[in-house]
Amino acid sequence: MAKDNSPSNPADEGPPSRRRLYVLLGVLAVVAGFAAVWWTYRYWPATLPAIPEIDLTQTDAEVADAIRTAREAVVKSPREIEPWARLAMVLHAHKFVEPAMICYTAAAALDDENPVWPYLHATLLHEGAKPVEALALFESAGRLAPRDSPMPRLRHGELLLELGRFDDAERVFARVLADDKHDVHARLGLAQTALSRSQYEAALTHLTAIMHQEPVRKRTTALRAAVLEQLGKHEDALFERSRYGDLPDDPPRADLTDQLAELRVGLPGRLVRAKSLIGQSRIADAVALMEDTVKRYPKSDQAWIALAATKEAKGDFAAAEKAIDKSIELAPERADHRFRFGKLLQKQKRFSDAAATFRLAIARSPADADAYHRLGECLMAMGDRTGAADAFQQALRIQPNMPEPRKELEKLQKTN
């Protein structure tokens, strides 16, 4: 074997400054390698699900348009959070459950610090009878949510309770309460936990703390009645029971899903908005919305009847009557349109026409106690006492707890 006489590696023999440079370069290379690995780990684009295909064949045109537009935005920018989130919520708002869940998965992958996506995904799973799958997502949303947004944690606790994990549920509710000692839902959760363990004294303590809080007043009162009865405090239980009967229903709890209502389009979305506008006394806006709606949906009797409602709210009875006529023309079989027409006529004291209209409503919907009652009122106004009594009796036969026809019958009997 020939001896290697080639010069040795310059790095081995070079000056010290050069050696240091090579060491430094080596260290830098290692650091860069680690940085590359870390960056890859942290920022490498997530694997996203395929953009879902959505069957829109039987869907309202406006709804279909909204979904198509949202989907196209995802196609255009498949690695951006906004389009995925928008598509998910539009689909959710219109109950396209499976594709909405796919989109929430994508949104969560692109925006993994945001509790909204796992939360909304979890609500769909829970509504879709998959509580165990929903649990992990509620937990994840709860972990991501800021302390002053307890809803994901509350839903997590409530689902834990539902699944019989009382200790875990108690911990979650206690933590929410530690952050906000006035949180009525966390307190109710603790009461439920105690109830589920048959710890009635503890349940009563929690329930008593929130018994006058409007969001849960009726529910709390009902539960207090049962708990007091369990504790043998029968008189107190009876008092609570009677209080329960007098209370109005608890308002629905505000939820992240409420914002989905804003995304609802199509005829149902417009009808809901018009009702909401009337509720806010924004009559002119409601009229404008429904006038636009009947142009867009000219063959929809629901659109015309909703227009009639806005016109009636405005006090324009003639226009309201015209709109109801149109709705009846489009859906002559519907009893509720006739009933509404009868009410409008009755309001204008056109009793004979109203009575005839109520009869037409009853012919289509024979179990309508309200129509019988109003028919009775019209007949009374027309002087037909026998006919009126018969109509009131029919109303009571259908709805024996209706107070109005009973009062009218009593009045009739007194004046006979």
Binding site: Y41, R42, A46, Q58, T59, D60, V63, H94, K95, F96, V97, E98, A109, D112, H126, E127, G128, A129, K130, P131, V132, E133, E158, L161, E162, L163, G164, F166, L188, Q192, L195, S196, S198, R219, A222, L223, A225, A226, E229, Q230, A237, R241, Y244, G266, L267, P268, E333, R334, A335, D336, R364, S365, A367, D368, A369, R397, I398, Q399, P400, N401
Partner: protein, 566 residues
């Protein structure tokens, strides 16, 4: 993203460990064994050929269609073998008439509908069985949307409709039950009503693109009605019923009722009335013993779940699931809720306990209708069966209209302490194929001590599931018969002592959803092969003790032939 990545890394590590561990393992990997099934489908073998007609699928989405129809298991000819009555819901003008099947000596069934009088068409919902005129022959009431009919059993397989029975045409009769609420020896009748339906009102899916069946909240709830049996005149002529709804107090609080349970809820020996209301609080009408009732569901803790929320209450079941001596109430709900199990403790007070009974932990939930507590394997603990089917469409449109509503059924085994385990997967005959099930009737069709099932579906075949549970325990079936009244003692409470246990049951066939069960009370006794004694509390409150020659038999106890308790 980061979470998923971290999870993937951990998962990868775990996989490697698993691969290494399994690779080093000697011998075959153990595989969990599926327990043997409890049921086999014998519908064809028993020659029961009934396909339910819910009426035309014409785009109107007529709401009564989606509520389905029930059935009855009863011995109309008193030959000791259960017969079957199945009803349609296609309307009075339909050609689909209700069918009566008589059990033959070989256990097969023969269609004896023609000429029976029960072969009529209607929007038929529920069936209740009871001998209203105390002539020894069980009579039939069929509830209907906008109707309802009473038939007297005239013997020889003939039933006669009573046109002037005193029972009005109902708004929408659903669950129906006989009871003797005034203890006069004549069976009274409760007819639960659902809602005052406007059949012309269209409901749509939330997407606005298609029609669907309505939610009951779209209509006003209707009141349950109570009819008192007037008994016979001095010439022995039966006088029919009188409407006591208003007097009794039931008219005061209407509710969209679908289920009913007429048993003694507060332990005073008088029958009370529980009405399961769809999406509204349940009603518990406590018998005041003077012909009047007071609604006490809220007070007694049975109106709501533990959050004080009303759920979609539908089918009902009653039974002592944990050998506590106190029965609990089970009520089926929608698939986005959980079913309600109200345990009784102390007597007359209830606590919703589905979670502690293991009934909420299941990974999948159905929309439950018919249901029954029954000891299918005779181990001494009541198991639970639920039949399912959705009420609203979800997902993509299906080829067949009713497929969009189909779900599989479920069965749960009780561990003896009142904790249930889902064993649906090992019962493919009952739970394998999705169906739009509504009714579930329970009875021992072949008198072998194993409880069989009859399932009704919307637009599908009624199915008979024979109990084939392996290694069933010992058993006893008791018929509580009152010879003076010539009929089953509906409302009688039966207590059986066997070994160290005491078992409780009640004669009340009207349970589940729109169905009437076998009126006999079945007890699984487990390994105990003797019966120490039977105690019967008759509907009038008197109690008698009976000796029992042994287990594994169908026993009839007759009032007056036992030993009266002090």
């Amino acid at each position: 993203m980061a979470t998923i990545r971290r999870a993937m890394l951990i998962l990868g590590f775990v996989c490697v460990v698993c691969v290494v561990t399994l690779g080093c393992r000697q011998g075959p990997v153990a595989v969990a064994q599926t327990p043997p099934p409890w049921f086999e489908d014998v519908t064809d073998a028993l020659a029961v050929d009934f396909t339910h007609d819910p009426g035309p699928v014409d785009g109107t989405y007529f709401m009564p269609q989606s509520m389905g129809s029930g059935a009855a298991l009863f011995d109309f000819d008193n030959d000791g073998k259960l017969d079957i009555y199945l009803v349609h819901n296609a309307g009075p003008k339909s050609h689909s008439k209700n069918r009566l099947f008589q059990q033959q000596p070989d256990g097969r069934f023969k269609d004896v509908s023609a000429g029976s009088g029960l072969d009529f068409a209607g929007h038929c919902m529920g069936v209740a069985i009871g001998d209203v005129n105390n002539d020894g022959l069980p009579d039939v009431y069929v509830s209907e949307y906008a109707g309802g009919r009473l038939f007297l059993n005239r013997g020889g397989g003939r039933f006669e409709e009573v046109k002037e029975s005193g029972i009005d045409k109902q708004i929408w009769g659903t669950a129906v039950s006989f009871l003797d609420y005034d203890r006069d020896g004549w069976l009274d009748l409760v007819i639960v009503n659902y809602v005052a339906l406007d059949p012309t009102y269209p409901c749509t899916t939330p997407a606005g693109g298609g029609r669907d069946y309505c939610h009951p909240d779209n209509f006003k709830p209707a009141a349950a009605r109570l009819y008192r049996n007037r008994g016979c005149d001095k010439d022995g002529r039966w006088l029919g019923f009188e409407d006591r709804t208003e007097f009794a107090g039931l008219a005061a609080v209407p509710g969209p009722g679908l289920g009913v349970l007429c048993v003694d809820f507060n332990g005073d020996g008088w029958p009370d009335i529980f009405v399961a209301n769809d999406s509204k609080p349940n009603h518990l009408w406590i018998n005041n013993k003077n012909g009047k009732f007071t609604e006490e569901a809220v007070l007694r803790g049975i109106a709501f779940d533990t959050a004080g929320r009303a759920q979609a209450n539908m089918g009902t079941a009653w039974g002592d699931i944990d050998a506590s001596g106190l029965s609990c109430v089970f009520v089926t709900h929608l698939n986005n809720e959980y079913h309600g199990l109200w345990k009784q403790k102390p007597r007359g007070r209830f606590q919703e306990s589905a979670a502690t009974a293991g009934l909420t932990k299941i990974g999948w939930r159905g929309t439950g209708f018919g249901t029954a507590f029954a000891d299918f394997d005779n181990d001494g603990a009541l198991d639970l069966a639920i039949v399912n089917g959705k009420v609203f469409r979800t997902g993509a449109p299906t080829k067949s209209h009713w497929d969009a509503y189909a779900e599989r059924n479920q069965v749960f085994a009780n561990n003896g302490a009142g904790v249930f385990r889902d064993i649906s997967e090992s019962n493919p005959a009952l739970c394998g194929k999705p169906n739009v099930a509504r009714g579930l009737a329970l009875g021992d069709l072949n008198n072998d001590g194993g409880l069989d099932l009859l399932v009704t579906t919307i637009g599908g075949k009624a199915r008979i599931l024979r109990n084939v549970a392996a290694k069933r325990g010992h058993w006893l079936t008791v018929r509580a018969f009152d010879p003076a009244l010539k009929r089953d003692a509906i409302g009688a409470q039966i207590r059986v002592s066997a070994g160290a246990r005491r078992y409780h049951g009640v004669v009340q066939p009207s349970q589940s959803y729109l169905c009437s069960h076998d009126p006999r009370v079945h007890f699984g006794l487990g390994a105990v092969d003797r019966v120490d004694g039977i105690e019967v509390q008759w509907p009038d409150g008197t109690t008698e003790s009976f000796e029992c020659p042994g287990a594994d038999r169908n026993l009839e106890v007759q009032r007056g032939k036992g030993q009266l308790a002090k």
